[in-house]
């Protein structure tokens, strides 16, 4: 009997290991750990100048300190600075995009205006507008908000346009049948029906905005004003705190991943549940 039991237990253990290895998340963690080990080993074994390229362990400690684990927690305020700019820009972009696209649904001129503007500004990296924005608004929050809005608004508007254009005529007729006014038609039929496309647009818009705000802050950093995470990264170069800079970069990545998963969650609780998901 015992001779049968032992291979059973072993095979169960093997199965568990196989199952864990097969899970995508586990593989990712393993890969990430390997990259970190390779980084650490390279820096230590090849005796790279730590001032220019610190080992990952040092960066991790800096990051932990920056986030308040045995340190000052100063990073939070920088991240919040950046996030508050992008959140404000996000809100402004959504309102403008919804209003303009809503007008474009019923008005030909508004539609052409939107299509021309989207066509023109979509290919333009909005960071290119920063010099002008600095002239107009100075080294201020307004300059940042301006370029970030210009980055976010076009992908949001164009995805909304597609979203509205692909709403089934049946749903529009349903709205007419129940005598919905313009506003109710917008909030109760058009927007929820366009939500799958809208979520993709918001995701892309947020991604553009996040890149742009960090880049813009780097430029601000060069002039010694500002205070967001981009500014922090650039500042760490000025003071040769390269580990701090890397910690900042890691944080940018983490925030990016975090917001991405927030979008996934929104998607999961709305369009995924309704079966109208769009990828």
């Amino acid at each position: 009997m015992a001779s049968i039991d032992i291979p059973d237990a072993a095979s169960r253990r093997n199965k568990l290991v196989a199952l864990l290895l097969n899970a995508g998340a586990v593989k990712k963690v393993v890969v990430l750990a390997l990259v970190c080990i390779a980084w650490e080993a390279t820096v230590r074994l090849l005796e790279v100048n730590r001032l220019l390229f610190p080992p990952i362990s040092e960066i991790a400690v800096k990051l932990a300190h920056g986030l308040g684990l045995g340190g000052t927690g100063e990073l939070w305020s920088y991240v919040w600075q950046t996030l508050s700019v992008i959140l404000q820009s996000f809100a402004i972009s959504i309102v403008i995009a919804v209003v303009v696209t809503g007008l474009a649904v019923s008005n030909n001129w508004a539609r052409e205006f939107l299509s021309v503007m989207t066509g023109m500004f979509q290919p333009l990296p909005s960071i290119a507008l920063l010099p002008m924005a600095i002239l107009w608004f100075g080294f201020s929050r307004e300059s940042l908000v301006f370029v970030v809005v210009m980055a976010m608004i076009w992908p949001i508007a164009s995805s909304l346009t597609v979203g509205f254009a692909t709403i089934s005529p049946t749903l529009m007729r349903l709205g007419q049948n129940y005598e919905l006014g313009r506003f109710a038609m917008m909030t109760e039929i058009l927007l929820p029906a366009a939500l799958p496309m809208m979520i993709s647009g918001l995701r892309v818009g947020w991604g553009f905005g996040w890149r742009t705000v960090v880049a813009a802050e780097l430029v601000f950093g060069a002039t010694g004003t500002g205070g967001g995470i981009g500014w922090y990264i650039n500042n760490s170069r000025l003071f040769m705190n390269i580990a701090d800079g890397f910690a900042g970069i890691l944080l940018v990545i983490i925030v990016g991943l975090f917001t991405e998963s927030l979008f996934r969650m929104v998607q999961y609780f709305t369009t995924h549940k309704w079966g109208t998901e769009n990828f």
Partner: protein, 273 residues
Amino acid sequence: MVAVLQTMHADARSAGTVSTDLVEIDHVSIAFPGSRGRGTVVAVEDVSVSIRRGEKFVILGPSGCGKSTLLTAIGGFIPVSGGEIRVDGAAVRSPSMNRVLVFQDFGQLLPWRTVVSNVEWAVGKRWPKMPAPERRARALHYVELVGLGPQADQYPNTLSGGQKQRCAIARAFAVQPEMLLMDEPFGALDAINRERMQFELNRVWAAESERVTIAFVTHDVNEAVHLGHRVMVMSRGPGRLRALVENPSVGSPPHDGAALKLVEELRELLKDK
């Protein structure tokens, strides 16, 4: 509000002065601009017929005969190009909650609302001041009436085609319209489901004290005979009224002798001449 509406219905039935005709279709033609702007396409030509209050009126015809177009015009969704459609004596100008359209398209439910919430939404539009508990109770009543009680809290994407159409029918009945306009609502269902739904429609209509007037568009002769007190046969290209047939065997089982005879007659009428 509900009470008021019900008395209005009662008045309409008891008062001798009210016309028995709810809808008057008076020399109606409907034309669309042709493709690439060339000329016009006449979908419906010079149709005159009346729909009686409280009857189930079937518009039967081959595909492309303009029967859906006519129904949509009764709903007020598209304008007529000649003649006039009057409901309760007043010309139809725009869609109204008094004439609820039920589509063939399964996508007529709001996908972001559950079954009962779809019905609640419509009830809320009809009676904006109705308190939420009453609205919900009302919605649930109709959801259960069409046999969707167990699915009340499911989202439409989890329902079968037949269940979706049941939900659409519950929603339409729940707002107590004067009239239901049904545009081949069972056209996309399999044969077994279609027969079941025809039976169910008759049942729900009777449960609602046979008050609602129904205009039902179909190209299925058996469906027409099972459902319609009267059947209007349309011919194709352009859509004209070919015949108006009284149907004494409405609601009878599909293999009833008289019903079968009428089916044969209607098939004959549908043949292109």
